[in-house]
Chain length 209, copies 2
């Protein structure tokens, strides 16, 4: 999920490859700092310390905290796109949707992933530049869901839905809520959540669980 | 929801009443600041400015930012307890549960309420002292839900549930997720969310919507 978009390995010179490793090292350190102290709370100095790099070294890769956040948003966008593609596949609609959500929950259990997501959602509410950057990810997830559900309705896999846009919003909201809560709620282990999410989604979409 | 617990009005001397008003003024200002800058980002100085009070005046009521946060947590606890009581009432189980959630969504639309909730959830994930303070509210909501659902099962209002604890967690998670998202998602107006939430809850609890 967090893989940096890299050029094809065969085209890498040793220098480029070392640069990419350095870049990843900075982004990993920044994620740790943002998860711990928030986007606003974390300083470039803290990120340098965490990455074990000098400010001079770090600034050669990223001129500002904003540039680091932008790079993380870009990585998240790629990760989300990859995950959401699993919703298209073949097989029953409900299996595909639940599979995608479970993949998201598993990803959120990576150290720091969920704290970062909570930070992102706080920034989205503030409608800040940081928030807007991440809101685009949400829009693209929504677009794929609309396509997948519209196709399923056309194929007769699920009944017509009166308010597709709000249904998608409620679905996203419920899944995001579970993704956040599962981290600190011991009752919400992946195996216990799965059958419940299936009932929830089936109820919402008017399908059999 | 945000009302400060006050002594009975007839027992108020004018001085106590002025003190309470002052206290409310500080807490309202602090909520605005926390919503804007976060618990960590907001300073006592910022809160003084927002409350239009001198530091000396403010410190007479609250010796520290922690004391202010504790008072807000206490207010939130009272508000949540009041709201969650509506789940007990009479009438069909689904109506009571949806009514309670809709009241929560409406409250979250108050200026700053949702930003504060996002801040609280970020702090909960960090397992900080602030987070722990607010986690108690969540526990008490869960306790009431367990009572209400257990009684409904005993009365035959809903079918037996295999995993009640996880079901309650998923329900809380979905409702929290919707509460957050409805603020910035134009599709999630209260009137459009209500029928969808009903389908979602009915599906999860194995009831007819």
């Amino acid at each position: 999920m967090t893989a940096v978009v890299q050029p094809d390995p065969i085209e890498l010179t040793p220098r480029e490859s070392a640069q990419d490793a350095r870049r990843s090292q900075i982004l990993d350190a920044a994620r740790t700092c943002f998860a711990r102290s928030g986007f606003r709370g974390a300083s470039m100095q803290e990120i340098c310390l965490e990455a074990k790099m000098s400010p001079g070294g770090l600034y050669r890769y990223f001129p500002s905290k904003e540039a680091i956040i932008e790079a993380i948003a870009q990585d998240e966008r790629c990760g989300a796109a990859e995950l959401v593609e699993t919703m298209r596949g073949t097989g029953p609609l409900l299996d595909r949707m639940i599979g995608c959500a479970m993949g998201y929950f598993a990803y959120m259990r990576d150290p720091g992933a969920c704290e970062l997501m909570a930070e992102i959602s706080a920034e989205s509410l503030r409608n800040s530049e940081i928030g807007k950057r991440f809101a685009k990810i949400d829009d693209s997830v929504r677009d794929v869901m609309r396509e997948v559900l519209t196709e399923a309705i056309e194929k007769g896999e699920m009944p017509e839905i009166a308010d597709l846009d709000a249904t998608i919003g409620v679905l996203q909201a419920a899944v995001d809520g579970i993704a956040l809560r599962q981290i600190h709620d011991a009752d919400l282990s992946l195996d216990r959540v799965e059958p419940l999410l299936r009932r929830l989604v089936a109820g919402l979409l008017g399908m059999k669980a």
